[in-house]
Subunit: 210 residues, 2 copies
């Protein structure tokens, strides 16, 4: 699918068809295609919980403003942004370093330097760790929405949920922030989409300070 069509036709869909299933294979394709998104030092500090079970989705819906799409969509993702994803000893920090060495883009002697650099950028205070986790998971979530659309799936990113209650209900450890939920599936074809929302123009996006 052409990128222009992907970005223009991607919409936040409110009504999913609960009777049109999405295969595990298709979900896997979306998750791995989107994983080509870049990240800070390739640390990929994102994880996903994938909800399919109706009872589980009902538990989430109760904490997400009772939005019908949480149970209507066949699949719901809980995006997790790992605020510890820069720490020495973290499994993916270690794996990332080893993979760089294997690829020849890093030498083992630089391990102390590397872990110090990323701790300096992302670990000196909570503001930095939060920015690191949420920005990178933002990259990934955007890539998931485009990848889904390119594979004919619809999505809806959701912020309308009780963050701390979802954390408790699903036993999500404190190192993760939950930047968004996402409904995934096919649109209920009996419904119509409203026209796209307005967007900021170039002149509204670009700023200068003197």
């Amino acid at each position: 699918m052409d990128f222009n069509d992907v970005i223009n036709q991607r919409r936040a869909i409110n009504h999913f068809d609960p009777n049109e299933p999405v295969s595990d294979e298709l979900i896997k394709q979306v998750v791995e295609l989107a994983a080509k998104a870049p990240s800070s030092f390739n640390l990929q500090p994102w994880s996903l919980m994938i909800l399919r079970d109706l009872e589980e989705k009902k538990r989430l819906r109760k904490l997400a403003w009772d939005q019908p799409k949480v149970t209507e969509a066949p699949v719901v993702f809980i995006f997790l942004a790992d605020r510890d994803g820069w720490k020495k000893g973290h499994p993916f920090v270690e794996k990332n370093f080893q993979e760089m060495v294997r690829a020849g883009s890093m030498v083992p002697e630089k391990y102390e330097w590397f872990t110090k650099v990323i701790a300096g950028l992302y670990g000196t205070d909570d503001e930095k760790s939060q920015a690191f986790a949420c920005k990178n998971t933002g990259f990934y979530a955007m890539a998931v929405m485009f990848a889904a659309k390119s594979l004919s799936l619809e999505t809806h990113p959701m912020d309308g949920f009780d963050h701390d209650a979802v954390r408790r209900e699903f036993h999500i450890p404190d190192n993760y922030w939950i930047p968004l939920l996402m409904a995934v599936g096919y649109m209920d074809r009996t419904k119509t989409l409203h026209p796209p929302n307005w967007r900021k123009t170039f002149d509204e996006i670009v700023v200068k300070f003197t």
Copy 2:
């Protein structure tokens, strides 16, 4: 350009050709195409500073680990994530509400309700405001990288810079966090790219907690 090619061929380019210019028109196209990215309640809390002037890029490079691409790339973006982008009275919060009313998706009577909801989600503490600003600007930055690639431009997202020094040097107000810089241009064709970095597999991305 096909989305699969865009996501597979997008790479973080280290060597830009300083002699291959990028037109203002093309930059505008990238900025506005990417602006179709979704955001929390369509608040679009992202802004861009666009650097083209060599002296300005030199000032930035000094604060960005002296990375050659900061001055070699014809264009450098400073991404700004607006941590106040949910506040009642903020120009784009107000414009967003008015546009929703104009489009018929909102009624003027819901103004108090709307501003209270977004303040509750994004404004009750710094952790939430930071997550809101950085996640949404992450969506936008990812869309910029894909939009640029689809228009034959290359990019490099950069975290290697002194956040607070860049803020001071460019007089960036405190409400903005700077999640990344981005070099934009064409690749120096005398250089070769290293193979793509490893990525987490489906099984490494998906987590469960009991």
